[in-house]
Symmetry: C2
Subunit: 239 residues, 2 copies
């Protein structure tokens, strides 16, 4: 079974939702047969790469909140994160463009390191003091190496904005086609869609439902096709 998760590193509910999903997955009897794939979704694609702001400043300027409202929101998210056992700095976090992180997540996917890297990015963005947006290149290289990627390859991707850009855009187009307007957005076997950081019980139910409808497959084509099996290969004798 395949689970695709659209998310953004700058999305607190993605960080929390991933933990809730993983709680359900850890208890799912068929967890070893579930593959998880992370897909790109930028919440703030219009922000220039170097445009870094404190989260509270971004919330007041972009959404017209008062600083008190913005801080109360961060405190509330911090409490939700804590309830899932996650560290969350409710003060002095930065906000910025996440395109380069998404490109690196596609590099990591090719190398079987995507889940490691997204978790390291989340932890760095939400729980660690050092910004992932300021002095981003050095910071991202350090984090990607921690996930098992090779520093030279990571630097090459960061230096060329075209690398993996098409993959990020394709993920975003696909999210729109599937009806996602926000993140996190979970898709199970391209059949069930789950919007948002729902309770672990909802993920557990969805995993069970998706598992239950996995078979039978609808056959396509002729029944007596050319194939090899335990009795050998069906071979038409030439005339």
């Amino acid at each position: 079974m395949r689970v695709e998760i659209w998310s953004d590193i700058a999305c607190p509910w993605c960080y929390v939702g991933k933990a809730r999903f993983e709680k359900a997955l850890a208890a799912f009897p068929h967890r070893d047969e579930v593959e998880v794939e992370h897909r790109s979704f930028e919440l703030d694609p219009g922000r220039a790469k170097g445009d870094v702001q404190p989260v509270i400043t971004m919330l007041t300027r972009k959404y017209g909140m008062s600083p008190q409202q913005a801080q109360a929101g961060e405190d509330s998210l911090g409490a939700q994160a804590a309830a899932e056992g996650l560290d969350y700095r409710t003060r002095d976090r930065d906000h910025g463009n996440t395109f380069d992180m998404h490109r690196l997540l596609h590099l990591a996917k090719e190398q079987g390191r995507q889940d490691e890297l997204i978790q390291i990015f989340y932890r760095a963005n939400f729980a660690e003091e050092r910004s992932v947006f300021a002095e981003a290149e050095e910071r991202l290289v350090e984090l990607a190496v921690e996930a098992g990627l090779e520093a030279g390859r990571v630097r090459a991707v960061l230096a060329d904005p075209d690398l993996y850009a098409a993959e990020v855009r394709a993920d975003e187009r696909e999210a729109a086609q599937l009806g996602a307007t926000g993140v996190p957005f979970f898709v199970l076997d391209r059949t069930y869609g789950i919007s948002g950081a729902q309770p672990a019980e909802v993920f557990a139910q969805a995993l069970t439902q998706a598992w239950g409808r996995r078979s039978p497959l609808a056959p396509v084509g002729q029944e007596t096709a050319d194939a090899c099996g335990p009795d050998g290969c069906a071979v038409p004798q030439q005339g």
Copy 2:
């Protein structure tokens, strides 16, 4: 869209079927959004690792064919392969155990090199003079390096029969659960199943059918979940 292909390197119809599938895929308008994954299926899992035989000898002993029948079968397969533009040695090919090749295909999958490696294995087994079964270790290292894998890692996998063994067995269990009794076996989005090396037109039809039913997703869970979107993150204010 995801296509999973169960196959064995020792399966002539898998070699031919892959070419037919790829012909359909190359003409499919959404080909860039199709991911192909190769899954393990051994036709002759009971054969000991060092038990290497000429294909004709294997066919006569295992299936009771006459040497003439066996050779006619190989000639027929060679003609089918040629019709797809594939080289096929109809004489003096070897047969043997493919477990190690399947383990290496799982290593290659982790590194984004699986399709390269399986194609190189097929070519080596069906078209090249040098056996993939005799002096297998050196031969497999050479082929895996050609696919972009690192020689040291390949040797480590070959030296430890437990590495990626569980992944091969899990693929084989899953094939049985999905109803596959022979290979090649193609599964599109876990919805459509195609048995055997069907004509390219069948694959084209299946790709179109599977693409057409991709959406809409069935929603699971509450509609108003905690998520972030273009208007910010829904955050309950703490009371």
